[in-house]
Structures are given as C-alpha cells and as structure tokens.
C-alpha cells in the first residue's frame, strides 16, 4: 500500500514552540499569589530520626510545614508501596524526603528547611548488594533484603558444559547512573473547586493521578494531572517525586504551591539505573556454536523497589543476548541496600547484560579463532529461533542484517571467517 505520511519526513509538531522558547515547562508556569515549597531530605543513609519544626514554623513568611502526620495515606511506589511520602521516623537513603516547607517565597522556604531541627540516630547501613544478601546484613525494610529472584532453567547445563570445546568465565560490574535529563523536576499544584490540579512533568500522568488520590485519600476524579512540556525523562520520571508534596500542600493551604528542584536535588530525588554484578560462564563447541550459558546477576535497587522486579526480570530474560543457546541457567536477584534507589532507565535491565554477554562471545570467538562478525552470525537470532524462555521469534528478526550492515561499514567483511 502506498503511504502518504507514514515513513516520510515530517516536521516535529512541537518544534515551533520549542525553538521560540515558548514551550511551557512546569518551571515556566506562574500563578497569582502562589506559595513556594522546599523539601527537607535525609542526609544519612540509614537512621532513625526525631524532628522539631517549631523554630522553622515561626519563621516569618512560613505558611505550613508538612510532615508524615499530614499525609492521609503515607505510602507510594510503582510496584510495592515501600516509599513513604514523608519518612515517619526512619530514613533508608540519603535524599529521603522528610518534610515540605510552604512559604511566601523560595528564599524563606529554603531558610526554613535549614531551621528544621533533626536529630539522627544512625544505624548500620548496607551498601554492597552481595553483603546485603547475607543473613547477618542490616535489614533495609521488613524482611529479607532479597526482594526478587528470577530463574531460567532450560536444558541441562551440567552435561552441556562437558561437551564444550571452550568455556569462558568472567565477572562484570556496572555502576549506578543518572538520567540527567536537562529539565530538573518542577511542579505547581492548585485547587479548582474541590479538584486538586497538579502540573508536573511525568511519563505516566494517569498513574500519578491514582497515587496522588491515594495519598490524599480523595476520589481519583478529584485529581487532575496536567503534563506540560517535558524536558527529557529516560525513565527518571516514572516514579513520582514532588507531585504528592505539592498536591498535599495546595489542599492544605488553599493556594497554588510551586516547587522547582535544583540539579542537586534532582539527583537526590529520582531513581537511578541499577548497578549490577554479573557472573557469566559461557561455552561453545569447536564450530563456535554456543551450547551452554550460566549467569548470576545481582541488581542493587538501593533503598526502594521501584521497578526492580521487572528490571531484574528483564535482565534475566535478556541474559543470553541475541543468541540461540539450548542450555541456559539464569538467576537474577533484586536486592535492597541503603544506596540511592534504582528504577527505570532507558534499557531497563537490558542495558547492563550486553557488557557481559558481548564480551563473552568475543572471548569465545577469540579462543576459537573466529572473528567477531562470524561468531555472531553463527549464533545470532533468525526467524524461527527460540529464545532462552522458549519463545519463538516468528517474524521481524533482522539481527543478521544489522550485523552485516555494521560489519560492512567498518570494513570487516573481508576479515570474516574462521582464521
């Protein structure tokens, strides 16, 4: 079928307003007689605390200070409700929100945050996910620090490794990283009769609507979320940050409340990419065909689960890379620590694995004197291939075509073959 618009060049529909500087991001929204909010965040990774807000409350220009006791339902989270909106008496990471000051202007709000007296009673923290899995480790939440375990059991790896001509074993590590979208979190909330209106950048406004309504204990239809222009997200705007804070505040004080994070607070407020420790054992026969693979993947989700089970599941499902391997054993774990919490970030658990499986296959090739392009073509997914989870890739599998395009562009095709 001949197509007129799909597949063709088209000018970005939001381009005009963006080049004019007219696109409205949350920080650009101003309201008459609005108040400004500022969050008090934990400076300790694992501690009980006591709070005294009296001095801050008496500061001229301070309208209200919200803490845990001002929240009807003090829990949120995309999968488990393991975040508190404001910590009640324990912090689990540096950056945990504890209180939210509403003041006449930003300067006073900032000052009042400094005036809040907080007494920490530090408890041992755990920062290494391997240590966190041990019985004796400090517990971050209620039970075990291991919050998820995904398994693949396909074929028989013990027998299969025995038949391998070459086996490569290695451990790989990746660090936590930040989305670093250019627009720091900002939002403004106001009342429209008895509806709470929240304008903030979000990847999923309908989910925010539910979480705000739950926290405020009001019907979902009394919450309206408006998503203005968004300055990048990359997964970092999946978990809610300031939306509930400003919604609570405006409901309490009746006037619009705005808050805008600094870059530093942005780093403290949203999730990170999971750091992973990946142990791999990969075996192939003399012809370079992968026969068996065993992977043990530990993902550090920090102080909160966010999407950890889904992320580590995705890491497990993708652990083989785009290769047919008949015998596979995978164990992937998501583990709580007192590190910054990790959640969704572009790649979502499938960004770490390639650092392991792609080096493994190169090593296999090197040991068998097979070049990187050929070893991938020998093993790569094609139409009809079966994945490690037993799924048949029945169509649209142009992996070999991708490999060939890159090989050709790099001038590698002459070097192809078994040396």
């Amino acid at each position: 079928m001949k197509r007129e618009i799909v597949g063709k060049r088209a000018i970005r529909v939001d381009g005009h307003s963006k080049v004019l500087g007219k696109a409205e991001y949350p920080q650009d929204i101003q309201k008459q007689s609005m108040y400004h909010g500022k969050t008090l965040r934990s400076k300790k990774p694992h501690a009980y605390f006591k709070l005294n807000i009296d001095k801050a409350k008496n500061l001229k220009g301070v309208i209200a200070i919200l803490t845990a006791k001002d929240v009807p339902y003090n829990h949120h989270g995309v999968l488990f409700k393991d975040h508190e909106i404001f910590c009640t008496n324990k912090v689990r990471r540096v950056g945990d929100p504890i209180a939210f000051v509403v003041a006449e202007n930003e300067k006073i709000a900032k000052q009042a945050v400094e005036f809040i007296e907080i007494e920490y009673d530090e408890i041992p923290g755990v920062f290494d996910p391997i240590k966190a899995m041990e019985q004796s480790a400090p517990i971050v939440h209620k039970e075990s620090n291991i919050l998820y375990h995904y398994k693949i059991r396909k074929g028989n790896i013990e027998n299969a490794f025995k038949q391998c001509e070459v086996i490569v074993e290695n451990e790989y590590r990746t660090g936590m990283v930040d989305h670093a979208f250019l627009q720091p979190e900002s939002g403004i909330a106001y009342m429209d009769e008895n509806t709470v209106v929240v304008c903030a950048s979000s990847q999923y406004p309908h989910f925010d609507q539910i979480e705000i309504a739950e926290a405020l204990n009001i019907p979902t239809e009394n919450v309206r979320v408006i998503n203005p222009a968004i300055g990048g997200a990359f997964g970092g705007r999946e978990d809610i940050t300031l939306q509930i804070h400003i919604a609570l505040a405006t409901k309490l004080v009746g006037k619009p409340v705005k808050t805008t994070y600094s870059r530093e607070e942005s780093f403290l407020a949203h999730g990170k990419r999971h750091s992973m420790i990946m142990k791999y054992k990969t075996g192939a026969n003399r012809q370079g065909k992968l026969v068996a693979m065993e992977a043990n993947i530990i993902g550090d989700t920090g102080a909160y689960a966010s999407w950890a089970p889904n992320v580590l599941r995705k890491a497990g499902v993708h652990a083989t890379g785009p290769y047919e391997i008949p015998n596979v054993k995978v164990d992937s774990y998501a583990v709580y620590t007192n590190n910054p919490f990790a959640g969704a970030m572009r790649g979502f658990g499938a960004a770490q694995g390639p650092i392991a499986y792609e080096q493994q296959i190169d090593e296999i090739g090197r040991k068998l004197s097979i070049d990187p392009i050929t070893i991938r073509k020998i093993n790569g997914f094609k139409v009809g291939s079966e994945t490690a989870t037993g799924q048949i890739l029945e169509a649209s599998v142009p992996y070999i075509q991708c490999i060939e395009s890159v090989g050709k562009a790099l001038g590698l095709e002459q070097k192809e073959g078994i040396r």
Binding site: E4, I5, V6, A10, I11, V13, P45, F127, Y150, R153, K154, N170, R173, G175, V177, D178, S201, Q203, Y204, P205, H206, F207, V225, I226, N227, I230, A233, F234, R263, E264, F267, R313, G316, V317, H318, G321, P322, N338, G347, F348, A350, A351, P354, I355, Q359, D362, P372, I373, R376, T389, G390, S396, V397, P398, Y399, C402, I403, V406, A409, L410
Partner: protein
C-alpha cells in the same frame, strides 16, 4: 602510545510491560466541526517525538494533512489512559490504538457521507486527501469539512472513533522462566573504532556505526535523532558517568562532576535504519527508544580489548580504571 581497536556490540530488546501484565493503550479520534481530527491519547511526549509520529499515523489513516490532526496528550481530564511513556511501548502499543481509533472514525465518516450524498450504500466510497468520494464516480463527493458542517447542523457531532490495543505477552513459569514474556523484540548493533592512549588512559572514538531494526520507520529523521541520542547516552555510560557512590552518598550530583558527553565528546555516528515490518505493529513499526543505546558500551569495551589486549569488566572505563587495568596486565 596510541592504539587502535575495533569492537562490536549487538543486542536485542523485548518491548512493552511484559510477562503477561495487561499492556493496554486506548485512544479516541474525534471529528471536529472544521473537518480536523482530534486525537485524544494518554501518551506522554517527553521529547522522543511521540506526538509527531502518532499524528503521522492518524493523518495517514484519515488521509488528511498532518496539520489537520490536533493531538491532545497533556491532561488526564480529556484523554484516555494509554499507559506509560516507557518500555519503548508507545509507538507499537499506543500507535496501534490510534490506528484502530482512526480506522473506526474513518468507517463512521464514510457511513455518514453516504447518507449525506444520498447514495444507497457506502460500498465503493473512499476517503482520500480530505474528501469522501465514490471511486466509480468521483463527482459524487463531499469534503470532510463539508461533512463535519452537515453533521454539526444535524447535531450529530462529535463523531468519535475509539481504539484499544493490548499487546500479547505470557507470564513465565516461576521455576523454569519459560514463557513468552515480551513482544515484539527489537535488534540493535553498534560498531566502533577506538583509539586508546596508553599513557593517559583516554579513549577516543574515531568511528561509530549503528544499525537499528525498527520494523517500519514512521519518521526516519526522528529515528536518526533517537539513534544519535542513544549513542551519546551509551557513550556516557561506557566511559564518563559515575555517581561517585560511597556509603550511600553520591559525590557527583551536579554537572560539574557528573560528566555527560558534550558536543566535543560525541563523534559522528553512521546510521543504518533496518526495516523488516512487524506484522502486529502499526504500519509494521516497533519501538526503538531504549534499544538505540544498548550496544554502545559493549562495542567500546570490545574495541578497547582489540586495541590493548585487556578485558575491562567494569563501566565506566574512566582513564584511572583503564590505566590500572593496563598496569595489572603488564604485571601478569
């Protein structure tokens, strides 16, 4: 000494929520009184271009210019829930919902047009370039604009098309992990040539190539933009970005010390868009937002090995880390 090496990083990526979780997108297409079509959909524009490519899909089905699509995706008050703008799912999942909604509206438009044109049936009527006409006698025609006005007069507006799409995934067995957790899968391959300075530990990318499977490109230029951006982010992940985490504290939490690539750090990327339509995708399209960054880090690491013969097993490969690895290798 400067040493050159070449490396490949190849990956696959299952898009969507996955593992049997209902992955639902809803969309509404509304004929307005001026003949334009409003698409209401809860698909967030985060910069990836969803607003544009989804408007293209709607314009294609309705056969009207792109400018005649009014895309509404900002307010929970007037858009249905289409799921999150994540998991590289909007093009495939919500794209399908929009296509269905517009096909529904298109059908309704044609049904109404045959009444207005006083024909016996809607058979043989088609909608093209903003006109509904009889293929065998094109003089029997009415424009979308005229039709909208007639319907407005008869109080038959708004005319609404609705669409809902749910991706097919199956929950995996808890003990064996067997199942069909994602669909569709997208493939991505990077190749890079690096130059490693063995004295300073600095890594220079001198050539970079990316081949991205897209199913079918809805907007090739925007796919290139995603590839360039994914490459830069992947490069940051490979050699720059480090939070400096110690005892739960981030040392690097601003742009002075959390280094993301600048225009001087990102080389030109040679890009190949690979089309192999996905039969269940809208016009054959698959999601690419995440896949575009996956192959970068392994390609860089494999290229470093090719250059200096040392396997770096940890990212980011900071100069410090690289020099340490080189030293250890020499000692061994």
């Amino acid at each position: 000494m400067k040493k050159k090496g070449v490396g490949i990083g190849s990956t696959f990526y299952g898009t969507g929520y996955g593992n049997g979780f209902p992955d639902v997108s809803r969309a509404k297409a509304v004929l307005k009184e001026d003949g334009k079509v409003a698409v209401h959909v809860g698909a967030t524009e985060v910069g990836q271009g969803s607003k544009t490519i989804m408007s293209q899909m709607a314009a294609e089905v309705m056969s009207i210019p792109l400018n005649d699509i009014i895309f509404i995706c900002e307010d929970t008050k007037n858009m249905p829930d289409s799921g999150t703008a994540a998991a590289s799912r909007q093009t495939y999942n919500t794209g399908n919902a929009i296509k269905l909604a517009c096909e529904d509206l298109r059908k309704k438009v044609i049904e109404n047009a045959f009444k207005e044109l006083k024909l016996n049936s809607s058979v043989g009527l088609t909608l093209k370039n903003g006109e509904i006409y009889l293929k065998t006698l094109p003089s029997k025609n009415i424009s979308l604009k005229e039709l909208a006005l007639c319907l407005l007069k008869n109080k038959e507006l708004p005319l609404i098309g609705e669409g809902s799409f749910t991706a097919q995934t199956i929950e995996m067995d808890e003990e064996t992990g067997q199942g069909a957790p994602y669909w569709p899968y997208t493939f991505n391959v990077y190749g890079v040539i690096v130059e490693v300075d063995t004295e300073t530990g600095l890594i220079d990318i001198i050539k970079a190539v990316c081949a991205q499977d897209v199913g079918k490109a809805i907007n090739p230029e925007m796919i290139e933009g995603q590839m360039d951006g994914g490459f830069a982010m992947g490069l940051g992940y490979s050699i720059y970005e480090d939070l400096g985490l110690k005892e739960g504290k981030m040392k690097n939490k601003n742009f002075t010390n959390y280094l993301i690539p600048t225009a001087l750090d990102v080389p030109e990327l040679e890009k190949f868009i690979i089309e192999d339509p996905e039969s269940t995708g809208p016009f054959g399209a698959k999601g690419i937002g995440e896949p575009v960054m996956l192959g970068v880090a392994p390609a860089v690491l494999n290229a470093i090995y090719d250059a200096v013969g040392v396997r770096i097993t940890q990212v980011p490969v900071t100069p410090d880390r690289l020099l340490r690895a080189l030293k250890e290798e020499r000692r061994e």
